[in-house]
Subunit: 537 residues, 2 copies
């Protein structure tokens, strides 16, 4: 390609062909972000003579991925994990599993069946999250489609349509119809005649007609796209009376639920590991030589010129470990309580990361009643604090199913649930569920809830940095402090997603590569070799 | 409910509350068509003394369902099937299977793996097709989600955007954006001020802003909903340059592909039987006492006062079979060639049903290259005669996959493919595929095609009745002619779908129930019992 960069080429095309030429070229050249991914960073091989060592703090997804790439490059890895398990917020609970909530641990009472599970943290993978998909492939984690959008599921809001649940397909179809009718009216009134030629105006009306399924005269009178009030297999379809424009504008669904399938991370189809998201964690564990050291709470992190020194407590005993490098996956808001010798700016950056609040409920339902309503996955949206109800799209037509009975990131709604006992939460969730599915409660056999902001060793979910702090500190935290690299979705533009966690690992390992080029030189000149990791009790 | 019918109740509500009250009430009462389904017709039990008999012509889905319901009611069923297999157009081919095309039979050369299959006929089940879903449940056919819409898949048209493939998510997001911008402009210019209050106009602008992701000043400048040109995991997202309005209007995708997820039968999520659609056929076969008589070509159908008489040819031998009733699943356009004593009107009705043309190609691809583009199922749409490319959503990350390389109902496009040899079709299909995925051809290991209008014993797919004929004859064919009941998707409002076939069986069995009430009386008065079915060689 004429020895010019792709960006240069694009700017030439832009000059030649205008902005839409840029778009076409960028598609053709595979520059849409997710196309350019070529796999994780290849870490420069470790010094073979004296095996180099790394200590990884936290066995969350970023920590596990960092460990696996470093092991591949020949490093000796030690993974310290404060909780009783690996995975971090990638947590799937089944029969008998524990939700380690502060002060009120819960035990999962689902039936003892492997497919009755609850993904407490991440639960879906979009097709453009190339890093997590790479690991699913590389670690042998089987995937299946996770229906995230179901047009037969509902919108429910006490303030709209008398609180009655509305099928999303009706609302969606009517929104398109009403919008298109208004557009047609404007085109018909030649509101746009300064913008568009007569020919284009005519096309605009056809566009509106097609988009909204308008009548020949540009009226929206309902659409078969939303189904029929008759048995359309045997009779002519009769469309439902559409929502009136005023009622549509007064409703609240267009501010929220109507965008459920429009957000880039929620675009169909989404994927999930067969049998639960923790298959990813198990995949990492199968392929890692170093097994995470569990129940290991980090107390001190010291950067030295020739390595890092970490002190942790396990079963009341203190241990100190030295290594060449440290990759730190601990929630940054815990770092204020861990002794260290970081610079003020770096520590201020860590302090700027705030806790996010995610709350979920899962119910074991004795019947998959939603399937009788034509719902085979997807999400109903409600204005109630539970926010969302997710229907499983695996185990179709099985007897029972785990329904996600609440899913909210809203700090206020989460805080209300956090203040309740586990059983109070289940009652509140059931009341909201009743508004969407009358009779909901009678199907509930048991339930469990997870307030991430009250989980031991987590106390939050999804970093939250203010815009100002982001601009001020993000670039600081993207770079190592001495031999200490901060990782986790918290060090990404995309917290709350495993892809963000993996991207953080990617960038940290790239930084390590840069540093290694320098340190190799340093080492040659000083003749000093790095120490292998060793336990000092 | 006050002893009034539901429809009456709705009209009362309508009077009381206006049209949107009707809508709310109809949702609440479960009258949306798919909610009211309570299972197949319970056929009145057969006379126990002299086992009553039925002959079913054609082992397609309607024939198999009719047989299973009649067996349940105690009837003796004989199923005659002209071809070498049961299932009709529910046909899944795998390694070594035959596509019985007239004059040029094809053998499937896929690798011998059970998940390398090609659903030649039906391939997806919407959540509101309650009849087929009932049978999947009742017959123990495991289902999985079939991703039908993939926003990362492409639109491609030689006449639009220089023929370059466009990601659907970009086109979809930009269409919403441009539409909303126009709406905002109109609202801003108060074009609608006679229709809407000032408050509603303000809401309309907010609606447009939310729907299209407009800027604070109502401009569409691209949207993160379509992704980012930067690595959004690590950097601020930068949106793609949006399509210009004129280019959008000049493009052809809004006439077709943009509606791909809007049609009621294609609304997400769709389902498919695990391992191929013929799992439905196998499910019926497992549960039927009567096994279809294969290679049996019907030659004569005679209605008598006390039964029906069918003559068929099998291996050059003629056989005559008598039964109490006949349910006929044979494509109606074959009936002109089958001797019968039907009324002129009934025969004219049969003659009015025309052949539909469906053409498909399936390629075995040596790599699932589409997954590297973020595509995990769904459909790319093209203006080329192949019309659609479907990506499998099962066996994610496997080595190989079967790609649907053509799917068209267009009679002209199908006719062109029908005129070709099987290998010519594969070449033509590959050339079109190249426009969507450069390098497409090099992944092809082998392929197979199915032109339904050239298939022995089918010669078409999906009945096509003109509007006039429909009004004139459909109601005639919905009722029995003597003891002969016509069935199949051809006797439904929904041909080309298994649900239409099952609905035809439903209505025929309802007609039988009506007739039985009458004939029981008749029989009592004459003392004459129906003959059991018997083979007369």
């Amino acid at each position: 390609m004429l020895n010019i960069t792709r960006r240069q080429f694009l700017s030439y095309v832009g000059i030649a062909g205008g902005s839409s030429a840029i778009m076409k070229a960028s598609v053709a050249m595979g520059m849409m972000g997710h196309d350019t991914y070529a796999g994780p960073v290849n870490v420069a091989p470790a010094n073979k003579k004296d095996k180099q060592s790394v200590v990884i703090l936290g066995a969350g997804i970023a920590g596990l991925a960092t460990a696996i790439e470093l092991e591949k490059a020949g490093y000796h890895c030690t993974i310290l994990e404060a909780s009783h398990r690996a995975g971090g917020r990638n947590l799937t609970v089944r029969h008998g599993d524990k939700i380690d909530e502060m002060g009120q641990p819960q035990t999962c009472r689902f039936d003892n069946q492997e497919n009755l599970f609850f993904n407490c943290g991440p639960a879906r993978i979009p097709g453009h999250h190339r890093r997590i998909l790479h690991y699913c492939r590389a670690l042998g984690v089987p995937l299946q489609v996770k229906a995230n959008s179901c047009k037969l599921a509902y919108f429910q809001d006490d303030e709209s349509f008398g609180g009655k649940p509305i099928r999303q397909i009706e609302y969606n179809t009517d929104a398109r119809g009403l919008l298109s009718e208004l557009l047609w009216k404007s085109a018909d009134a030649s509101t746009f005649d300064q913008l568009l030629s007569e020919e284009d105006l005519a096309k605009l009306m056809q566009f509106a007609k097609s988009y909204g399924d308008l009548s020949e005269t540009g009226k929206y009178i309902g659409s078969e796209r939303a189904g029929s009030t008759t048995d359309r297999m045997l009779q002519y379809p009769e469309v439902n009376t559409p929502i009136e424009l005023k009622a549509m504008l007064n409703s609240n669904f267009w501010r929220g639920g109507l965008l459920g399938a429009e957000v880039y991370d929620w675009c169909e189809p989404l994927l999930e590991p067969v049998g639960g998201m923790d298959a990813v964690v198990k995949g990492f564990e199968r392929h890692l030589t170093s097994k995470p050291v569990l129940g290991a709470q980090v107390k001190k992190i010291y950067n030295h010129e020739d390595g890092v020194e970490i002190t942790y407590e396990q079963n009341g005993q203190f241990h100190t470990i030295k290594a060449d490098y440290c990759f730190n996956n601990i929630p940054a808001y815990f770092m204020a309580g861990i002794e260290n010798n970081f610079s003020e700016t770096y520590q201020a950056g860590l302090n700027s990361i705030k806790r996010g609040h995610l709350f979920k409920i899962a119910y074991q339902m004795k019947e998959r009643f939603w399937e009788k309503e034509g719902i085979y996955g997807g999400i109903s949206y409600t204005a109630d604090p539970i926010a969302q109800v997710w229907y499983p799209s695996h185990d179709i037509h099985a007897n029972k199913g785990i329904l996600l009975g609440a899913y909210t990131w809203d700090p206020k709604a989460s805080a209300a649930f956090e203040a309740m006992t586990p059983s109070e939460r289940l009652v509140v969730g059931a009341k909201s569920g009743e508004k969407i599915h009358p009779g909901y409660s009678k199907y509930i056999e048991n339930g469990i809830s997870i307030p991430w902001a009250r989980m031991n060793h987590q106390m939050g979910c999804g970093m939250r940095m203010g815009k100002e702090d982001f601009d001020k500190y993000y670039h600081v935290l993207q770079k190592p402090e001495g031999r200490h690299f901060m990782i986790g979705d918290q060090i990404s533009h995309h917290s709350g997603w495993q892809e963000g966690a993996l991207a953080s690992s990617d960038q940290a390992l790239e930084q390590l590569n840069k540093m290694l080029n320098a340190s190799v030189k340093t080492r040659v000149s000083t003749g000093k070799d790095a120490q292998g990791a060793q336990y000092v009790s």
